[in-house]
Subunit: 363 residues, 2 copies
């Protein structure tokens, strides 16, 4: 199979080995394309005997250079609620406790293949931790730019992995400095931009197809940079192109009040309120806005939730025995606000509540 | 299949439905026996289509009443080190971040089957959290007795699950009060005593047999109450009884300096030093001492590690991208002290380092 990097703005194409993080001509984000999908009778024919997401290595770039430590193959649990069938997928049963491990595994794999000395990331916490861990696995150095008010437990863990931690005044400053301070031989793998990140995420969909069920009316995903939503979309597209499914579910982005740029673009209006409990959803200018809007406009929606709604969602999930961070609980909160006929819903649970213990008490 | 409760002291037998936590006659711990193992050509013939440890439900008591939320089916990663092949099994990729989730799932399942109103546990942290979560899953109340110096993050999470938290002056007081304050309709499920806990743990071994490899020279396990070591032993015994293996690996218990009663019984001497970083290994009088010694004396050993050795182990594992708590890192530290010819080693990684972030920095 051949992978191509394609600019989502000007459509210029690059070889997959080109070490770039955005289009050299127009500056837009890059996406990955597969030129020649394999012709398969059974999906199983492409699956390797590997109990991580790399069992789908034939569909992931640079898989010969995989940097892996047990990510993927997460369990699901089906929960019935008001006539709906909710499929939880436990993305925080993973090396550093969030879905970011999938993307970091694929992203660091590319850095490893292209022989970068150092990976550079900007993050509000979970991604920085995931990339720090995978840099360690791959024997690369890591430098992580974070806003100074990122959750302390997450920052302590980034330090534990010996990554260089650069504290910035804001999430925006972290994004800006991560690329402006890039040096020769270093590779920017920021998940807001890096298309390889999404090649790791898409394996969530392959696992559902291989092990449980792929028949969903809608997928509900907390959305900041959109890399999770777009990664899942990408997985469905791969299945569609290979002929294993013939339609896509609706995609529901959930944002937090106070930082809901996708909602504002989609509906053309502001959304007031405070959703600051969801500290992982603070991207004011997601680089992939156009791609997100395209997916949602084809078949989807965006809802915004506030702290009260997030607290109710956390409480409900805890009663089910589910321990997630507030950012992850926004999907339940968002689903509760949906006015829809969706019956079969996929809800990836994105981050463990262990990192944010102090936010889960006295709700 | 028929399960029998058997006293490990006086051999008295009880029906599996009997709601007891130790022998009514002599007060010794109870173990579970299977009277009539199935005759199978292939292990697969007994495996259910369930992507949790309950796929082995036919070998677990009360499986019709299962209380489950994604536990088990943890990944493995093989690491080569000084001529040895170490198989890490990631037991903290789980609902509450430790191997205790397996035991809690099986233990609360029994409480659910016997219609207890409340489960009661004593714990230094991880078990309390696991039982709180599974009580929520099963719709039972939970009361957890903990030493007041248990890690704060773990206690906050127990509270988040709405369990009643009873702080005690010591680990011993927690154990004592958990049973002395037991009321009608409540069930003591303390993992130091409860044999059903180990019925959950044993599934680690079934997964290795089904998905990867069961050929180990030795199993290295951090040991406090011994419930993890004995649970793994139990899994191997089940495979042996069903004819799928014909020998057992050696069992290596790792204890921490300052609290090493198994070492003292095994070698008849004290072990001085400070291993207090391993806050999960503080059981001074493990009720199952006799069973532990029997396993180790048949083929095994016990090693004791101190804080310096634990710190080195944490650092080494972090360099591999592995984020475990100090208690879990004792197995690596212990293996480093083994003078042995073991080449193929199973090392379950028992608890996430996310809960103990403050102990992983500046080592």
């Amino acid at each position: 199979m051949k992978f191509i990097l394609a600019c989502v703005g000007c459509s210029r194409e690059y070889d997959a080995e080109t070490p770039l993080w955005r289009c050299r001509v127009c500056g837009s984000p890059i996406s990955l394309k597969i030129e020649d999908y394999p012709e398969l009778n059974r999906f199983q024919d492409i699956v390797e005997d590997d109990l991580t997401l790399w069992r789908y290595g034939k569909l992931i770039p640079f898989s010969d250079f995989r940097v892996s430590i047990g990510e993927g193959l997460t369990p699901v649990h089906i929960h019935s609620f008001r006539g709906m069938e909710i499929t939880f997928k436990f993305e925080y049963f993973s090396p550093t406790g969030s879905f970011k491990d999938r993307g970091a595994s694929a992203g660091v794999t590319r850095a490893n293949a292209l022989q970068a000395s150092t990976i550079v990331e900007d993050s509000s916490g979970n991604a920085g931790l995931a990339y720090s861990a995978y840099a360690a696995v791959g024997g690369l150095r890591a430098r992580i730019y974070v806003p100074e008010d990122a959750p302390p437990a997450k920052l302590r863990l980034v330090s534990a992995f010996n990554a260089e931690l650069v504290k910035c005044r804001s999430r925006e400053e972290a994004s800006e400095r991560a690329v402006s301070e890039l040096k020769q031989g270093e590779m920017y793998v920021g998940h807001l931009w890096d298309p390889f990140f999404m090649e790791g995420i898409k394996t969530e969909v392959f696992e559902l197809y291989e092990f449980s069920n792929i028949d969903f009316d809608a997928v509900v995903v907390p959305t900041a940079s959109g890399s999770h939503l777009l990664g899942i979309y990408r997985g469905f597209i791969d299945l569609l192109e290979m002929g294993f499914i013939d339609e896509l579910p609706a995609f529901i982005a959930v944002q937090s009040a106070g930082c809901s740029p996708v909602y504002e673009e989609f509906y053309g209006e502001k959304f007031e309120g405070d959703g600051s409990l969801a500290d992982g959803l603070r991207i004011k200018n997601p680089p992939r806005m156009r791609e997100i809007l395209k997916v949602l406009r084809a078949n989807g929606d965006v809802v915004v939730v506030n702290n009260d709604e997030i607290r109710e969602a956390i409480k409900y999930l805890l009663k089910l025995g589910i321990l997630v961070e507030p950012t992850s609980a926004t999907s339940w909160a968002g689903m509760m606000k949906l006015e829809s006929e969706y019956r079969k819903i996929l809800m990836p649970l994105t981050g463990t509540g262990i990192k944010t213990a102090e936010k889960l008490q006295n709700l």
